[in-house]
């Protein structure tokens, strides 16, 4: 077979071909087994080991691989380079023979699943189901894969399926007849059985088939157009010897004809083919196999139903036996009833439609009014500034498009003239340009030069009379410059000519654009105020552009040249020229209707923005009310998006809730930096209400107090505990009120006091003042904290040192972290300025007597003295002290923020034995005591304030009062009623 040359290329041959037999050759002796050799594809001999020892030898001397032997792969993994996962596949252990066509794992081109038929691979489905159980998300069988799986069936199949077709069914109307078994392929064929023609008709008949059930037609085997090769008559297929001799159950009747009816049935479900396919060993002789499902049909039963009683019998009711009329006639006969009703002539081959198609009703278009003109008239867009108010009003009422005012611009984008207009100032008298300062002669000369330059350029320029003065001036400038440059041309003619030659083509090209721009803008409706401002960021440039546009509108041809800034370099001007022209063409007034719909952004998205959390908290008042009503829940709860750090999630063993996002914390948005709202902290409403009376401050306060109202407002949020801790205490309310009142009075007095102080300070050297100041503080501290070591008493070197030494002393030695202090400095407590205000009232003499001053007070004293110094130094010092003052108070009054810590020895009565015991304790006596003192101070602070205030009122006998208040402080026995009484006194006195 492979030997003949012609067919060689068409066939693939396997094995060794037999040598062609020649007639007269004697039959050769077979080669004995031991002489038979096997070679592999490379021609090497293979030794046969015997079937049970592994067949042919493999590898190198029956080993694996090569002469070097099999080298195991080494496992190498490092931090940088992770070793690949080594999944040993079965293929790894196969050689190429196994992959060949007859090997155990043939590799061949097969239709992949995507292109294979619809039949699903059950094995694979099962595997997928198993893997889905083991998957990360249970039940997820490759959700993504399913979503984006390629179409497996053609669109035709899809459409059919949509129409109700199912796999294995035929196409066509549903039939009344019994459903046939569709899949008979399952019948196995054993051995050498004849293909019997056994029919299943008999058993089919047994099954119940109700009348009203329709079945899908059978799947159709396509008509086979096998050419007729035999010499039988048409439709005769001759006697099948197998069938005739087989003696199957059907052997009684052999149909030798395939009639037309037969063929049609074969179109809609081939019975015969199925009949033939039915396999299995049938008949009595073989019995029933174990694998056979049916055992009913093993005995031969013949019946008349197997025989056709009529010729071509499958056309019942035809009545035309022996004659098969063409289809259309038969059908015509069926439909004759309807055809009769139709009077007209029916063309041959046509029948009347079985269903009457619905006639679509077509509605006529509406009648147009007679005076309708299919043109929409847009009302003219008029700027209100250019139109008289009456007209504007009329336009407004007539719903005309009265253009809005030019959008409000930012303060920085306004020019000086614009600001002047907004402020209502009169324009400055005098010349606005240098050229106006020139003599008439000079101006004439300039004009001459310009004219000469114009002639040089051979550009015909007709300056219309309407050209405004600025244009003249600008053009004159330009001309003068040009003249100047022409003068310098002699010096450097070469490069200039170059540039000219270079710019010329661009100019010619640009000129067309200029013409376009001119055309576009010279229209009467063009409106400058409404035009888009392309260079809004650069106000000067925009002004130049506006000038250019204005000139364009007036029809000025050299508008471009004249409106450019002559002080710029040639290159810059060139660029700007191009930009202007392009912008003018781009934003020509036909777009004005469009541009009116947009407003320019109010905020410049430059560096003037701050990142603010996107989600802001709602109104606190609502929540406050809800809390009061004890309606916790929705009203008091708010949800925000919050992004935890990836590492944090990892540490918490929690999957990242936002795997894709890179933000951490609350999502931020950019806001205008100068917005007041960025710095407004929402305070509790109770607090606000309490703050309200103290809020109004005299305008003069800013000059004397370093704190602005805003700052103090901010501070107040740190002050919550103090205020909220006694929410129902009328005392605090009174206090705050009196504080504010005192503040006012104090500021007035402070001014006067400054004067007196300054007179006092000028007499003494500055250093001395500081020293005395420092001494004062030391005295105080000594008085107050008797147990304090002497370390604080350090002779101050100068003013600065005095300030900083005292401040650093206040800090705990280990707790000082300056950087962080500065952070906190932003929000010192409100109580401090108030306290200081009270303190400043004390004359220096009385201050010495004051037995328990705060450290903050000391700084305030310093501040006071510093203020009294000559102005030049005062400013510098002020900044210093104002920086250091909150610092110090910060270090001391840290405990002011938030709930306090209870004192180490909290004793209701002053002399408790426990306290003494504590005092006696040796360990860490110093720190603890100091701390305790601070605590006590804090607690007493309120009362001290009271004392101070009172002192201020009765300034004459302040010392006695001080002692009074001090003793009160010590005892802490001042009843609230008494305090209230005093406060009332103060107010009445004032």
């Amino acid at each position: 077979m492979a030997s003949d040359e012609e067919s060689d290329e068409d066939f693939v041959s396997y094995g060794t071909p037999l040598e062609p037999l020649e007639e007269d050759e004697p039959i050769r002796k077979p080669v004995p087994v031991h002489e038979q050799t096997v070679k592999d594809e490379k021609g090497r001999y293979k030794r046969f080991h015997g079937a049970f020892t592994g067949g042919f030898s493999a590898g190198y001397f029956n080993t694996v691989g090569s002469q070097e032997g099999w080298t195991p792969s080494t496992f190498v993994s490092s931090r940088q380079q992770k070793a690949d996962r080594q999944n040993a596949r079965p293929e790894d252990f196969m050689d190429e023979e196994d992959f060949s066509e007859h090997g155990i794992a043939p590799r061949e081109i097969v239709t992949t699943e995507d292109f294979a038929s619809e039949r699903k691979d059950q094995l694979k489905d099962k595997a997928r189901a198993v893997s889905s159980l083991a998957a990360l998300i249970p039940g997820d069988t490759g959700l993504l894969e399913e979503l984006i799986a390629p179409a497996r069936s053609s669109i035709g199949v899809e459409l059919l399926r949509k129409m109700g077709w199912k796999d294995g069914q035929g196409v066509g109307p549903r039939l009344k007849r019994k459903q046939r078994k569709q899949n008979d392929d399952a019948v196995q064929v054993y051995g050498c059985a004849f293909p019997p023609n056994a029919s299943e008709e008999s058993e089919d008949d047994d099954e119940f088939a109700p009348e009203n059930v329709t079945f899908a037609p059978k799947d159709v085997v396509p008509v086979d157009f096998t050419p007729k090769v035999d010499s039988h008559g048409l439709g005769y297929r001759g006697l099948n010897p197998l069938q005739a001799l087989g003696g199957g159950s059907e052997s009684g009747h052999i149909n030798l004809f395939t009639l037309q009816s037969d063929r049609t049935t074969s179109l809609f479900g081939d019975r015969n083919s199925r009949r033939q396919r039915r396999g299995g060993i049938g008949g009595q002789a073989f019995g029933v196999g174990a694998m056979e499902e049916e055992d009913t049909d093993i005995y031969h039963k013949d019946s008349m139903s197997n025989y056709d009683t009529v010729l071509g019998g499958e056309e019942p009711g035809d009545g035309l036996y022996g004659w098969t009329a063409p289809q259309q006639y038969t059908r015509k006969k069926n439909d004759s009833k309807r055809d009769v009703t139709y009077l007209g002539r029916i063309l041959d081959g046509f029948t009347l439609a079985s269903e009457v198609t619905e006639i679509k009703t077509v509605y006529p278009p509406p009648d147009l009014p007679r005076d309708y003109r299919p043109v929409h008239y847009f009302r003219p867009v008029v700027d209100s500034s250019t139109v008289s108010p009456i007209v504007a009003q009329a336009l407004l009422t007539s719903r005309g498009h009265l253009s809005q005012e030019a959008p409000q611009q930012g303060r920085h984008s306004l020019g000086s003239s614009q600001r002047r207009d907004m402020l209502g100032e009169t324009p400055l008298q005098g010349p606005s340009s240098v050229f106006e300062l020139l003599d008439n002669k000079d101006r004439e000369r300039l004009n001459e030069i310009r004219r000469a330059a114009e002639e040089q350029n051979k550009s015909v320029e007709n300056l219309s009379s309407a050209v405004d003065r600025a244009a003249v001036v600008a053009s004159a400038k330009a001309a003068a410059l040009r003249a100047l440059s022409s003068r310098f041309q002699s010096v450097a003619p070469q490069p200039d000519s170059h540039t000219q030659s270079r710019t010329s083509p661009t100019r010619t090209q640009a000129s067309s654009e200029t013409q376009m721009a001119l055309k576009a803008w010279s229209g009467p409706t063009a409106d400058a105020s409404k035009t888009f401002k392309p260079f809004a960021k650069n106000s000067q440039k925009q002004a130049r552009y506006d000038l250019y546009i204005n000139k364009l509108k007036q029809g000025d041809k050299d508008a471009l040249e004249s409106s450019l800034d002559s002080s710029m370099t040639e290159w810059e001007r060139g660029r700007e020229r191009d930009e202007f022209v392009r912008a003018a063409v781009l934003y020509k007034p036909s777009n004005s209707s469009l541009s009116s719909r947009f407003t320019r952004s109010k905020h410049e998205d430059d560096t003037d923005s701050v990142e603010v959390t996107r989600d802001q908290e709602n109104d606190v008042d609502d929540k406050q009310a809800a809390v009061k009503m004890k309606m916790f829940g929705k009203l008091t709860r708010e949800r925000f998006e919050w992004h935890p750090d990836k590492l944090l999630c990892k540490r918490f063993n929690v999957p990242d809730p936002y795997p894709g996002s890179s933000t951490v914390g609350m999502p931020k948005v950019k806001r205008d930096k100068y917005s007041v709202f960025n710095f407004l902290s929402i305070t509790d409403s109770s607090q606000v209400s309490r703050e309200a009376p103290s809020a109004p401050k005299p305008p003069g306060s800013s000059s004397t107090l370093p704190q602005t109202p805003e700052v103090s407002n901010k501070k107040s949020r740190w002050d919550i505990p103090g205020q909220v801790s006694e929410p129902k205490d009328p005392l605090s309310a009174f206090l705050s009120e009196t504080r504010s009142e005192l503040l006012v009075a104090k500021q007035i007095e402070a001014g006067a006091k400054n004067q007196t102080d300054s007179s006092h300070a000028t007499a003494t050297p500055e250093v001395n003042v500081a020293q005395s100041d420092g001494k004062q503080t030391e005295q105080k501290t000594e008085e107050e904290e008797k147990e304090e070591d002497e370390e604080e008493v350090r002779p101050p070197m100068d003013l600065f040192k005095a300030i900083f030494a005292s401040s650093s002393d206040e800090k705990s030695s280990s707790s000082s972290e300056e950087d962080s202090e500065e952070e906190e400095e932003v929000a010192p407590p409100t109580s401090e300025p108030i306290q200081s205000s009270a303190e400043t009232l004390n004359p220096p003499v009385s201050a010495q007597i004051t037995p328990a001053p705060d450290i903050s007070r000391l700084t305030d004293l310093k501040h006071l003295t510093v203020q009294s110094k000559p102005s030049a130094e005062t400013t510098a010092l002020n900044t210093q002290t104002s920086q250091s003052a909150p610092d110090k108070s910060q270090g001391l009054d840290e405990e002011e923020f938030g709930p306090r810590l209870p004192p180490p020895g909290f004793i209701p009565s002053a002399c408790s034995p426990q306290l003494k015991k504590q005092k006696k304790k040796e360990k860490e006596k110093h720190k603890a005591k100091k701390h305790k003192k601070e605590k006590k101070k804090k607690k007493n602070k309120k009362h001290k304030h009271k004392g101070k205030q009172k002192k201020r009122v009765e300034e004459s006998n302040s010392s006695s009062d001080d002692a009074d208040s001090n003793s009160e402080d010590e005892n802490r026995v001042v009843s609230t009623s008494e305090l209230l009484q005093r406060l009332k006194n103060i107010r009445s006195k004032r």
Binding site: F632, L648, D684, E817, L901, G905, Q918
Partner: protein
Amino acid sequence: MAFPQPRPQVPQLPQHLLRTIECQQGAVRAVRFNADGNYVLTCGSDKSLKLWSVSRGTLLKTYTGHGYEVLDVDSSYDNSQLCSCSSDKTVILWDVASGQVTRKLRGHAGKVNCVQFNEEATVMLSGSIDGTVRCWDTRSRRYEPIQILDEARDGISSLKVSEHELLIGSVDGRVRLYDLRMGQLHVDFIGSPITCVCFSRDGQCTLSSSLDSTVRLLDKSSGEMLGEYSGHVNKGYKLDCCLSDKDTHVLSCSEDGHVYFWDLVEGSLTLKLPVGKAVVQSLSFHPTEPRLLTAMEGHVQVWGAEPEDAAVEDG
């Protein structure tokens, strides 16, 4: 079920004083049980941190290294590490056995009020008066926090950590619940400065005490108030509150020297335990048994349900 369930045992309250420990470390700022409740940690105002045995009341170890008074402490689940925070703005991670400072973390701008390990002691969370909560990694050598939670508008007074949630009470009157799993932040407005927050042991509720002398039990998921407990005095100090071991009672310190026990469901005052004359600064409930620690001034008292014969008081 055929038989009725046995009547639940009446929860016993720790009302018997077992012993008093004189800590000798200044004021005891906080007292905490360790994870299993066998040891006590006390934070002193003399910068020291002490470890005690509950059963014997003996001092086991003193940890020194803070620069100012220690304000809070927490022990890791395996008792191998401690974290403490202090007024010196630092957070220190201690090795329990050696008493050495494993890590000293600076970064807070103010005194650090509260500190807490997460469940696996991989993260320390510290809340400071500067209004931030910083998450420190105990696994790495970085000295920067993993993340800074700066949503609070005022100082952080208390924080608790559950499996995947951070409960943070702030002086701005809000309780913030950070849900790491959901990536959400729930802000519950209470109004008054929060002094202490707590998870209930079942993790479904949060307890928050505030300076309006009220303890509130809120539903964690919805923020609705389930109970309100008042009667005690808490107007100026940072006092603790907690739940009993079986979530049956709500406990709170008071400035009048008592510990108040309320029935969780009824909200009625069950017991007013007199501790002393001063402010009860801190308290801690045993994780499994009815045992209570209270801190007042310089000593710690251990309370139990059953009176113990040998209540040794060591000076």
